[in-house]
């Protein structure tokens, strides 16, 4: 198929303002958008800049705004995107170069959730026991690959960049609802702060954006509920 990529370009060493680059070429309908970006970089314009690694939707490097919606370039096929495809960097993060954005603040917020197992009870010789149902309770949020697609689709985050954002909350949820973890209070206290979970206005953009199919808004709702129950 003939495809036209319209890519938002910005080179900090050359450009004062971002501009649109258009690239027209033949591609297979089953090619990933990432394959098309690679085509431009490898055969048309070597300066095109973006992150990528695994190329099958598990490493989280290549989240971007594609035809107005966040997604992973390696998980969307050209045949499902149409012959004219618009590609821009994720919104709300500082653009460094072309599609490559500054992820530092995003990871800082993730770290604020204390995203590691916290226990005070003695470590058993073998594994801690956990029922199949207890394990299932937080299965959805274990899938997060920290790509940023949810956070940068969130109007509350756009309005207030200090909001920790859905990705950080998802990663807190993964521990708060793990029956083995004993750090619930520490995490909920962070989430109860001004920039925490109450900034969510249940707009559901994050659910549509998540390339891992995580029901992000439900997870945020469960955290809100846990906070309310804690107060009672």
């Amino acid at each position: 198929m003939q495809v036209t990529l319209k890519i938002r370009r910005f080179n900090p060493e050359k450009d004062k303002e971002p501009w649109w680059g258009e690239y027209k070429f033949e591609a297979e309908p089953t090619d990933r958008l990432l394959d098309a970006l690679n085509h431009v970089k490898w055969y048309v314009d070597g300066t095109l800049t973006y992150r990528r690694s695994c190329a099958h939707g598990v490493c989280g490097s290549d989240a971007m705004l594609i035809n107005g919606q966040n997604g992973l370039a390696c998980k969307l096929l050209l045949k499902n995107l149409g012959s004219k495809i618009t590609v821009e960097p994720m919104r709300g993060f500082r653009v460094i170069k072309d599609l490559l954005v500054d992820m530092e603040a995003f990871f800082d917020k993730y770290r604020r959730m204390k995203p590691y197992f916290i226990t005070h009870s003695p470590v058993p010789e073998k594994e801690r026991l956990q029922s199949v149902e207890e394990r299932q309770r937080f299965d959805d949020t274990t899938k997060c690959i920290l790509c940023g697609a949810c956070t940068t689709s969130c109007p509350s985050f756009w309005a207030n960049p200090d909001y920790v954002g859905p990705a950080a909350i998802v990663n807190a949820h993964r521990f708060v609802f793990d029956s083995r973890d004993e750090g619930k209070d520490e995490r909920l206290s962070v989430l109860a702060l001004n920039e925490g979970v109450w900034r969510c206005r249940t707009i559901f953009n994050c659910v549509e954006a998540c390339p891992r199919g995580i029901n992000v808004t439900r997870a945020i709702g469960e955290i809100k509920k846990a906070l309310l129950l804690r107060k009672i």
Partner: protein, 574 residues
Amino acid sequence: MLQRYDALVVGAGGAGLMAALQLSKQGHVAVLSKLYPTRSHTGAAQGGIGAALGNMEEDHWEWHMFDTIKGSDYLADQDAVEILCREAIETVYDLEHWGLPFSRTPEGKIAQRPFGGHTREFGKAPVRRSCYAADRTGHMILQTMYQQCIKDDVQFYNEYHVIDLLVEQGRCAGVVAICLETGEIHTFQAKAVIFATGGFGRIFRVTSNAHALTGDGMSVVLRRGIPLEDIEFFQFHPTGIYKMGILLSEAARGEGAILRNRNGERFMERYAPSLLDLAPRDMVSRAIYREIQEGRGINGANYVHLDFTHLGRDVLDKKLPDITDFVRTYMGIEPAKELVPVQPTAHYAMGGIPTDNDGRVVIDDKNTPVPGLYAAGEAACVSVHGGNRLGTNSLVDILVFGRRSGRHAADFIKKNEFVPLGANPEERAREMVQRLTTNNGKERAGDVRGTLQDEMMEKASVFRDAKTLSAMREKLHEIRDRYNHVKVEDRGTKYNTELLEVIELGSLIDVAQVLVESALARQESRGAHFREDFPKRDDPNWLKHTLAYLGPKGIEFKYKPVKITKFEPKERKY
């Protein structure tokens, strides 16, 4: 720019992070990674980590040891395999204690499932040994290890690409890296450096490996006179998505999926009558190639089918959710109802930077170490995988030997001083970057890399012979010549990912050259190395490890003996 650390870890996958955790409280330590740590390819591992926990049925580390050695076609060093299989058990419990969300048995224990080549009672029947978290075990391991690094406040230099190793008076003195954000060259002086830089599957066209897996660490040490071990042994995983190479875990067959040819026949019955589809990967990949060669590929093309249709949606959704999603997303196929086209995909380097059982890099047939230099994970060759790795053992390897190298290095940095740096430590790195960014040749890196990948796939993959390998040797001369004329269009300094790709291509060519020369030299068939002109294993002449050096006139060889402790080499049948 000069920084000083007691120890540095290069690479932030499972091996690097495990090593960093051992070191972080023992001195001034940092991790350098060309990616954000959570992007590392450990996260793509699917089916599980092997350990004889015996949660589902009787199991023993000795059985695991036997399977690993037999799977290796007797090329693995048996003392190292014993360590691997013994320490696998405590390692899996450690992961659980760090919160890794394993799938569970009805009693609440860590769930386990069958995997290729893993058996009970020394080969009698498949055993459930693979500890799993659905089919995203690697993702959970990478996340858990990174989480622990956050907890321990490990220092990271993200998006720093190491391009040179500093060796002074035969001792490791540090590394030189390029910061991708600024393009600046940094010298990191260190008493100890651990290379955990992963594999190089991107030398082949069809691969399960990430774009980032370009053999960087191996190439960097090779250029500094350190050998690479057993690089001719490269594993093709039997079930990659047709054309794309995306991995469909062996857990699929562990859960009951079946390989079928164009006649619908379960052809593994003819190749491995007792283990069938769960035979080791080298055998299954060869069986698929044979079926295709003999005209039984689907529609006569170069693929076969993986049949999930009898498993039911529940097994697919609960136990294999990610690969089910891959099949739906990339092929538009519903695996519960339709057959899935698969072909072998370049997956794993059994060879690598030679190390001893503590991760110390050793440079000759007498196992002489380079003080302060370590390697772990796929970048290293201990050797626990020999000629062919069993499924689940890569995750065991990265954690067991990541830990051992980290612990040894932690001790080393307390007992040793910094090695003084030479007069101009950045000279070679600067010269290389300068050369690549000012070259006005006519070649594009994309074209050169494409040629390399296509030619390697055709001439040096599952089946090889003197003719194809010699032709590949010639091609590599041509490819290297073209590489010297590659032009980098991006002349900027900030995030010059084009320059990075060209540096990576240089690494790929180095490692491909070692692979081809080592494969030409080894005149036998063993594990994943299959020579059509020498189709039998030849223990009297070739039960030994290859050590390949980059000499002034090309690749030079030494060989070192295989350590055999418990299991005498036997013919390998399944």
